[in-house]
């Protein structure tokens, strides 16, 4: 068993427990303790789930990008497993961020969807991830599959700054960033649950990444062992 996998086994529980704790506290603060917004009323509570999901999807893609560069440099199959896991998770978080955003958009903008710069660039991110995951199913040779996928992930990273700065570069319906280098434009009563949920969601992503990387590694390991055993079996039959 790989040393890294053993280490993941040992420490992953801390991330899971941290995520569960932060999310439960964040949900309590967001759903019960925090006040409603002056303009949006109670609907603002959707922010505590939508914004952390969106942040985490960008974090997941950043991990995918970093892992892809690392893979092309070191060619470590475990890093490729991590990239594959991060891509799947990023696709899930991006889809959920889009769906929760649509649900928030209906009562605040009076529409489920609009071709706004932020929404469009986020949808492009989801399409890049779907393309990445589809590519990984089309190629038979694992080494080529990993190499091509890493290149696609690196090219796709171009969309991330567009997603992040879209609300500043274009006049959009989507509200600007609540916290940036210029300062914080959100009340502290609303900010604390949001930070708690964002930390919880990032820890949850880390935990899910560790679990999924193990899952992909173990699946590959099992296939490899079965293949080797089958090969040995055929060889021994041929010898006899």
């Amino acid at each position: 068993m790989n040393k890294v996998i053993r280490r993941i086994q040992r420490y992953q529980g801390w991330f899971g427990a941290g995520a569960a704790g932060c999310l439960l506290v964040g949900l309590y603060l967001g759903l019960i303790a925090s006040p409603p917004d002056y303009y949006q009323g109670e609907v603002v509570r959707i922010m505590y789930i939508h914004v952390p999901l969106a942040h985490t999807s960008l974090l997941a893609y950043t991990v995918l990008f970093g892992g892809s560069v690392w893979y092309l440099w070191k060619r470590d199959p475990l890093v490729d497993n991590m990239c594959h896991a991060a891509a799947g998770l990023s696709a899930v978080f991006t889809s959920l961020a889009l769906f929760t955003g649509m649900i928030w958009g209906k009562p605040t903008w009076n529409t489920w969807w609009t071709w706004d710069a932020r929404l469009t660039s986020f949808t492009v991110l989801l399409l890049i991830l779907i393309g990445y995951l589809m590519l990984r199913t089309f190629i038979d040779d694992p080494e080529r599959e990993a190499r091509f996928a890493a290149v696609v992930a690196i090219i796709g990273f171009v969309d991330l700054p567009i997603v992040h700065f879209s609300v500043e570069w274009w006049r959009t319906l989507h509200q600007p960033q609540s916290f940036s280098l210029r300062g914080v434009s959100i009340s502290s009563d609303l900010l604390f649950p949001l930070i708690m949920m964002s930390i919880g969601m990032s820890l949850l992503f880390t935990y899910m990444l560790l679990v999924r990387t193990q899952m992909l590694y173990l699946t590959n390991l099992l296939h490899a062992k079965k293949g080797r055993l089958l090969g040995q079996f055929h060889l021994s039959k041929a010898d006899s």
Partner: protein, 169 residues
């Protein structure tokens, strides 16, 4: 696998407690009465009443936070005296939530605050859409990892590895 199911059991219990607390918070602090219920029950404590500002009844000085109007339900209307922060959303034919007390001697509703009508379905929907798929995804992923460890452990494939130290936590 027992430890895995136990962990998830604890998480489900925690989530259930949170759902119950949220529901109780909604029932106690955010649930609204109709004008008909206020007239029928004459509640003495502070309440939230939801209704429509009847056309042609709005009077007072809105900039100074004083107004009087009739709040209509499906059958009855409630005379309202509002005194509070200058209301931005107070208009005729608008559905609002008023927070205040019912004065039985004068048979008027003394409102001190106004709130927008919220469709809680959107909030609930966003949390269900955001959290349930994540939880299910994580559950099945974790379960598969446990099963894979068990499969490796139980199969003869495991025996051939010299450095295998498998712990199916």
């Amino acid at each position: 696998m027992t430890a895995f199911y136990l962990r998830w059991g604890i998480l489900v219990v925690g989530a259930t407690i949170l759902v119950v607390l949220t529901y109780r918070n909604y029932e106690e602090n955010l649930a609204t009465m109709t004008p008909e219920q206020v007239l029928a029950n004459s509640p003495t404590e502070e309440i939230r009443v939801k209704g429509l500002v009847r056309g042609g009844t709005l009077r007072g000085e809105l900039e100074e936070g004083r107004a009087s109007f009739d709040l209509a339900g499906e059958k009855d209307t409630l005379p309202v005296q509002y005194e509070g922060p200058p209301p931005e959303n107070l208009r005729e034919l608008k559905t609002l939530i008023l927070i205040g007390k019912w004065k039985t001697p004068t048979r008027t509703f003394q409102a001190r605050e106004m709130a927008l009508v919220t469709n809680y379905g959107f909030v609930m929907g966003a949390y269900i859409v955001g959290l349930i798929p994540l939880a299910l995804f994580l559950f099945f992923m974790g379960r598969k990892v446990c099963l894979l460890y068990d499969e490796i452990k139980q199969s003869t494939l495991y025996q051939s590895e010299s450095d295998t130290h498998v712990d199916s936590r």
